[in-house]
């Protein structure tokens, strides 16, 4: 328990605590409040790794909490945008479905390799950055639906690339490298 409650995880978990405020802001049509909370979440996402290293409390749980916070922000932010008619449901649900399919690829990779090494896809990381801005664009009325369609298209391209990589990855060589590092 002491390993779970540390400054970095408390810092990261504030991202989950503020999520209901995004829904409230969307419901009340407070665009700037929603954007501010999303921006706060983005800044915490950038800084939490630094805080973890500074207080020497990096952990697998912290990494997981960070990933859960990212997914929750996008899920709640986008569902609120759809529910309160900021965005259209078709591209929003298409993007959420593609995101889930992309996440399933990581699970396949872990099962295939047998080592808990996250499959690092630079294209997915780039898409993650764009996802944040597309979410902000929903609340700022800035090409909201076009952004969702475009992000869905590029997510589809990246999924094809990543699944090809995951299915053809030289697992034996990876395990040999993991062995050397240990």
């Amino acid at each position: 328990m002491a390993g779970i409650i540390n400054p970095a995880n408390i810092f990261t978990s504030t991202r989950l605590i503020v999520l209901p405020l995004v829904v409230y802001a969307a419901y009340k049509n407070y665009h700037l409040m929603a954007v501010t909370i999303i921006a706060y979440s983005g800044v915490v996402d950038l800084l939490d790794g630094f805080v973890a290293r500074k207080f020497n409390c990096t952990s697998r749980f912290g990494e997981m909490l960070d990933a859960i916070s990212d997914a929750s922000l996008f899920l709640v932010g986008l569902l609120a945008a759809v529910a309160f008619k900021y965005s259209d449901p078709v591209p929003a649900f298409l993007l959420l479905g593609l995101g889930a399919f992309n996440a399933a690829g990581r699970v396949i990779f872990i099962k295939k390799t047998g080592v808990i090494t996250n499959f690092r896809s630079y294209a997915s990381e780039v898409l993650g950055g764009f996802t944040f801005w597309v979410l902000v664009a929903q609340y700022l009325d800035w090409y909201a639906n076009a952004g969702l369609w475009l992000l869905s298209f590029f997510t589809f391209i990246v999924i094809i690339h990543d699944y090809y990589r995951i299915l053809t990855y030289p697992v034996d060589l990876l395990k040999m490298e993991e062995g050397k590092n240990e």
Partner: protein, 92 residues
């Protein structure tokens, strides 16, 4: 068909905030496009060098994956540039 593929919604955001966001995105475009272009050229040069054949297959895959990532980023930033400029020009 147009009811399924709706590309624009308007929910009352004022144009000054949209303009401010467009200018912010234009600044971000300049920073990130330079960054991605630099990394793309750096990794392409590395792939073409003789050193690339001597590194492990896992690292070779990693470098190729990077190049794909930077390419996707640059193409997407093209749309960001187009969106920002059209919004900025529409404001004046």
């Amino acid at each position: 068909m147009s009811k399924i593929f709706i590309f624009q919604n308007h929910h009352g955001m004022t144009s000054d905030k949209v303009l401010t966001f467009s200018i912010l995105l234009l600044v971000i475009f300049c920073i990130y496009f330079s960054l991605f272009a630099y990394r793309f050229v750096r990794d392409i040069k590395y792939i073409k060098s003789s050193e690339f054949n001597n590194i492990s297959v896992i690292k070779q895959i990693d470098i190729r994956d990077r190049i794909f990532g930077w390419s996707v980023g640059m193409i997407m930033l093209g749309f960001v540039l187009w969106g920002s400029l059209t919004r900025i020009f529409a404001a004046f």
